[in-house]
C-alpha cells in the first residue's frame, strides 16, 4: 500500500481523488452508496448568492464517448446551502473534506458568496472559483476567457476569505498558461482544470438542437487527451498545485494526469455511469504505485517532462 496522501498547499488530502463540481450533487446523493469521507475531497455543485433555476430542458445529450450538458448551474443559493439539511449541515455530519464551488453573475456576487462562506466556514476545506461554466449567460465562462476579468474575480474573492482558493479554468481558450498565471498572480492558491469544452449536437430527424441551450459542455473520456495536454501546459506555466480532470474513468487515467503535473485529480462524468468510480480510481492509483515500485503519490507528480 503506497502513501496516497497529497498536499495542495496548506491542504492535505488523504488521497488525490476528488469529485468534479456538478457531478456529485452535494455529497448527500452518493453517501447512500458509500461513505463519502473515503474520497480525497468532495467538491459540491456550484453555489451562488441566489437560488437559480438553471436552463430549460433538454439539458443533456450523449455523444461519442462523452456527453454534452447545459444544466445552467441550477442551485439552492447560499442561504439554503448553509441551512438546508441536505446541504452543508449534512456535510458537517460526515468526515468528508468539503470544497465549495462558487459562482456569480458579476464580481460582487462571487465576493458575496465567498464572504458568506467565510463567516460560516466550519467544515469547509477550500473554495473553488468557477470562472469556466460555459452554460450560463452571465458570469461563469465570461470571466474565464478574459484574463483581466479572471484576475478581478479572484482578487475580489481573495480579499474576503482566508480559505485556500482554487480557480477552475476553462479549456475554451488558446493559451491556458496565461490564465493559470493570471489567477495565481491574483491570489489563487491552486488551479483546477479542465472544465467542459463548448460543443453542440443536432438531432437530424427533428432538425433541432439536442440541447435547449443550443450549446453545452462536452465531458467524458472523449476530452481526456485535451485535458492532459492542458494540465501539462499549466504545470509548465505556474508553480502551484494543480487538480487535473477531464474524462477520468480509471486509476490509469488518473495516473496520466499526475504524471503530467497534477497533484490531485477529480472524477466527474464517469460517476453518472458508476457511482463507485472515484473509489475504483483510488484503488487503481494505489495498484499502479505498488506495481511500479513507487512509495507515494508524491513520487510521480510531474514525472513526465
Amino acid at each position: 500500500m503506497a502513501d496516497l496522501t497529497t498536499k495542495l498547499g496548506a491542504l492535505t488530502l488523504k488521497n488525490p481523488v476528488m469529485t468534479a463540481s456538478g457531478t456529485f450533487g452535494y455529497g448527500f446523493e452518493y453517501n447512500k452508496f458509500y461513505d463519502i469521507a473515503k474520497l480525497g475531497a468532495v467538491v459540491v455543485k456550484g453555489i451562488a448568492p441566489f437560488p437559480s433555476h438553471g436552463n430549460p430542458t433538454p439539458r443533456v445529450a450523449e455523444t461519442a464517448c462523452g456527453m454534452l450538458n447545459a444544466i445552467g448551474l441550477q442551485g439552492p443559493g447560499i442561504d439554503k446551502f448553509l441551512h438546508g439539511k441536505e446541504y452543508m449541515p449534512f456535510l458537517r455530519t460526515t468526515n468528508a473534506t468539503v470544497i465549495v464551488n462558487i459562482w456569480g453573475k458579476n464580481v460582487a456576487d462571487y465576493q458575496e458568496v465567498a464572504r458568506r462562506l467565510e463567516q460560516d466556514k466550519t467544515g469547509i476545506a477550500a473554495l473553488e472559483i468557477n470562472i469556466s461554466c460555459p452554460n450560463v449567460k452571465a458570469g461563469g465562462i465570461a470571466f474565464g476567457t478574459d484574463p483581466v476579468l479572471a484576475k478581478e474575480v479572484v482578487s475580489a474573492v481573495r480579499e474576503v476569505t482566508t480559505l485556500p482558493l482554487i480557480t477552475k479554468l476553462s479549456p475554451n481558450v488558446s493559451r491556458i498558461g496565461d490564465f493559470a498565471q493570471a489567477v495565481v498572480a491574483a491570489g489563487s492558491d491552486m488551479i483546477s482544470l479542465i472544465n467542459t469544452l463548448t460543443g453542440m449536437a443536432i438531432d437530424i430527424n427533428k432538425r433541432t438542437f439536442k440541447i435547449a441551450n443550443k450549446t453545452g459542455g462536452l465531458s467524458g473520456p472523449a476530452i481526456k487527451p485535451v485535458a492532459v495536454r492542458m494540465v501539462y501546459e499549466a504545470a509548465q506555466a505556474v508553480n502551484v498545485p494543480i487538480i487535473g480532470m477531464g474524462g477520468i474513468v480509471s486509476g490509469d487515467d488518473a495516473v496520466e494526469f499526475l504524471l503530467a503535473g497534477a497533484s490531485a485529480v477529480a472524477v466527474g462524468t464517469a460517476i453518472f455511469a458508476d457511482p463507485y468510480v472515484p473509489l475504483k480510481v483510488i484503488d487503481g492509483i494505489n495498484a499502479y504505485l505498488d506495481k511500479h515500485g513507487f512509495n507515494s503519490v508524491q513520487d510521480i507528480i510531474g514525472l513526465v517532462k
Partner: protein, 261 residues
C-alpha cells in the same frame, strides 16, 4: 449497484420488447412506479445508463422491463441474448402510493406507459380499471396481463383500430359515469402531452392527488446532476421550480405539476 443477468429478452409486438433480469436484491424492495438504471452491455462508446420503469418483479428475483426500441440503447438492448450480464442501479425513484382499501385504482397508460403501473395490480385490495391509449392497436400493451389480474380494460386508439377512436382522456367521462359514487385513485404514465392534459383535467374533477409519472432525459438517476428536471409549482415569482424526476419523482401529484410554458 447490482448485476442483472438477462434470462429472457423477447419481442412482444412491433418495436416493443420485454426483458427479464435476474436481480433478487432489487426485486426484494422494488415498489410500483420505481425504475432501474441500466448500463447496457456491449455499448462502451455510450457512457450513460438508461432508465427503465419496472413492470413487474417476482419473489424468485426476476425483474421485468417492457421497452420500445427508440434509439441506440434500446436497439442494442433488444439484441442482447440470454445470459448477458448488465449492471443495474435500483430500485430508484419515488414510488406510487398503493391505493387504500376502499379505493378503486384507475390506471391511465399511454403507449408503453402501461408497463410502469402494472405492479399496482398486486397492491390494490379491489380490482381496478385500466385505460390504455395508443396510436394504434399494435401500440397497446399488456392488455391480457391486466385482464388476468382482474382489472377492467378500456381502450382508445388514435386510428380507431381498437377501442374508441380518440384520445385516452375521452375515456374519462364514461368512466366517471360508470363509477359514480366510488372512491377513485388515479395513476398515469405516458407521453408528456397526455400527462399534462390529465394534470389539468383530474384536479378539476376533484382528484388533485392523482399520481402521474413524469420523466425527462435522465443522466445520473440519483439526484446529483439535475438533467432530468420538470417544472413543478413553487412559491416563487416564477411560479415553478425544476424538480428532478429521478429523485424527487418520477411520481408527482397532478396538482403540483406546473402547466404554464
Amino acid at each position: 449497484m447490482q448485476s442483472g443477468v438477462i434470462i429472457s429478452n423477447t419481442r412482444l409486438q412491433g418495436d416493443y420488447f420485454k426483458v427479464t433480469f435476474y436481480t433478487p436484491e432489487i426485486c426484494a424492495t422494488a415498489q410500483p412506479g420505481q425504475f432501474v438504471h441500466v448500463k447496457i452491455a456491449n455499448m462502451e462508446e455510450h457512457i450513460l445508463r438508461r432508465p427503465f420503469s419496472i413492470c413487474n418483479v417476482s419473489g424468485s428475483g426476476e425483474l421485468e422491463v417492457v421497452y420500445k426500441v427508440v434509439g441506440a440503447g434500446t436497439e442494442v438492448l433488444s439484441k442482447l441474448p440470454e445470459g448477458t450480464l448488465c449492471d443495474l442501479l435500483g430500485p430508484l425513484g419515488k414510488p406510487f402510493q398503493a391505493p387504500a382499501a376502499d379505493e378503486v385504482p384507475v390506471l391511465l397508460g399511454g403507449g408503453y406507459g402501461a408497463a410502469a403501473m402494472f405492479m399496482l395490480t398486486e397492491k390494490s385490495a379491489q380490482p381496478g380499471v385500466v385505460l390504455l391509449g395508443a396510436r394504434s392497436k399494435n401500440d397497446l400493451l399488456l392488455i391480457d396481463d391486466y385482464k388476468q389480474s382482474g382489472f377492467e380494460v378500456r381502450l382508445a386508439t388514435n386510428d380507431g383500430s381498437s377501442g374508441i377512436k380518440g384520445l385516452i382522456t375521452e375515456l374519462l367521462p364514461p368512466l366517471f359515469a360508470d363509477y359514480a359514487g366510488k372512491k377513485l385513485h388515479f395513476y398515469a404514465c405516458g407521453p408528456m402531452p397526455m400527462l399534462l392534459a390529465l394534470c389539468r383535467i383530474l384536479p378539476e374533477k376533484g382528484y388533485p392527488e392523482a399520481e402521474v409519472s413524469l420523466d425527462h432525459l435522465m443522466c445520473c438517476g440519483v439526484g446529483a446532476c439535475f438533467a432530468c428536471v420538470v417544472k413543478i409549482k413553487a412559491d416563487n415569482p416564477d411560479g415553478f421550480r425544476y424538480a428532478r424526476t429521478c429523485s424527487e419523482g418520477p411520481v408527482f401529484a397532478a396538482k403540483d405539476v406546473y402547466l404554464g410554458e
